[in-house]
Symmetry: C2
Subunit: 207 residues, 2 copies
Amino acid sequence: VGRPKEPLIVRDHVFEAALELIDRRGIERFSMRALADALGVSAASLYHHFHDKGEILDGAAHLALVTSRDRGAGEPRSPEDQIVTIVVDAYVALQEHPGILPVLVRRADREFAIVVHGSVARLLRQSGVPEGLVVSWLDILEGLLIGTAVLEAHTEIDYRVEATTYPVLHASLTNTDQTLDAAQRLEIAVRALLAGSGDRDPAARPT
Amino acid sequence: VGRPKEPLIVRDHVFEAALELIDRRGIERFSMRALADALGVSAASLYHHFHDKGEILDGAAHLALVTSRDRGAGEPRSPEDQIVTIVVDAYVALQEHPGILPVLVRRADREFAIVVHGSVARLLRQSGVPEGLVVSWLDILEGLLIGTAVLEAHTEIDYRVEATTYPVLHASLTNTDQTLDAAQRLEIAVRALLAGSGDRDPAARPT
DNA sequence: ACCTGAACACCGTTCAAGT
DNA sequence: ACCTGAACACCGTTCAAGT
């Protein structure tokens, strides 16, 4: 055909279509041709708007992360509570787009991270983490967040455990009354980490 | 040609060659043809020994994880110290094969995990974690481990942070005297988690 | 400037044919 | 039983050609 009056391809629409496709059919079946089909254009024309496939994946990943909700602006809360809320919210956002996880694992999205890091850094300081360790604790929290999302995206653990060889593990797997889901685990892990984060500089920590 | 007297393809050799190739040139450039070339056979013949590419990737991932060292059998140590050693050792093993990480993210290797889980489960019990929460704490530790490895495999953070918008983060990024490397972060994170893991059942925890 | 069909060099996998 | 070359249906990307 040829050049239309209005461009057929809009960057943001492409990212949305890509994320939608990845969420619905998985990253494995996502291809430039499949995306082009969904958009009603040819695969070749996508290269007029994007450098390569990676740029589209980055955009879709960014989109998945940015749609994090913003609850908890209610009553004043402790810095620890606020950090927990931020981390758990980010986890929920990740969880809603499990297909995009492999992309995040290979291509970090630092543009997103900076917003979260900015506020969490301040909260960490408030809760008594010394300035020189703030970045390290940010990395710890981010690692826990990503790892939790990655593990949860796997199919459930279903390994056979012999009671005689691994008695404790076997008993624990059988005793599932108190088992926590991923969001609950993340919350108590973050609380435990924050409780331990002040240990190195107790004087800076009120209470 | 035809059938040789001795089989040309041995499963374990294939896994070794695959891991070596992935470590050296990255998962992106790893293909059945490249692997076959390295082995001096044809790509088609690999399908006589493996169901598909995924089976080979699983074997390579398993190989990478199994080569975890076994230090620390020296003087008797606290359960916490032993857990720290196991987790950090597993991290080091992961770190030595960063190319295989994307494979681990998509395909969990539970056969490996069970060995680690068996001993860590026992140690968690010893350090005061109630039976019903052992599996949850195993998941937390595993999430932290995987997330730390994933984050570290990325190129370093190099984002621009404006001092006026994010004063605390900016100051912390500038103050790098105390910054910890990934293994150090993992160690203090695991210690903080273990310290917090007993809180729910303090009676079970001896001092 | 923007989009297209056709082509290039790949890829995982299958299969008839060889010994 | 084990290995092969050739083929199939894909893939990301490029490019001359169209308007």
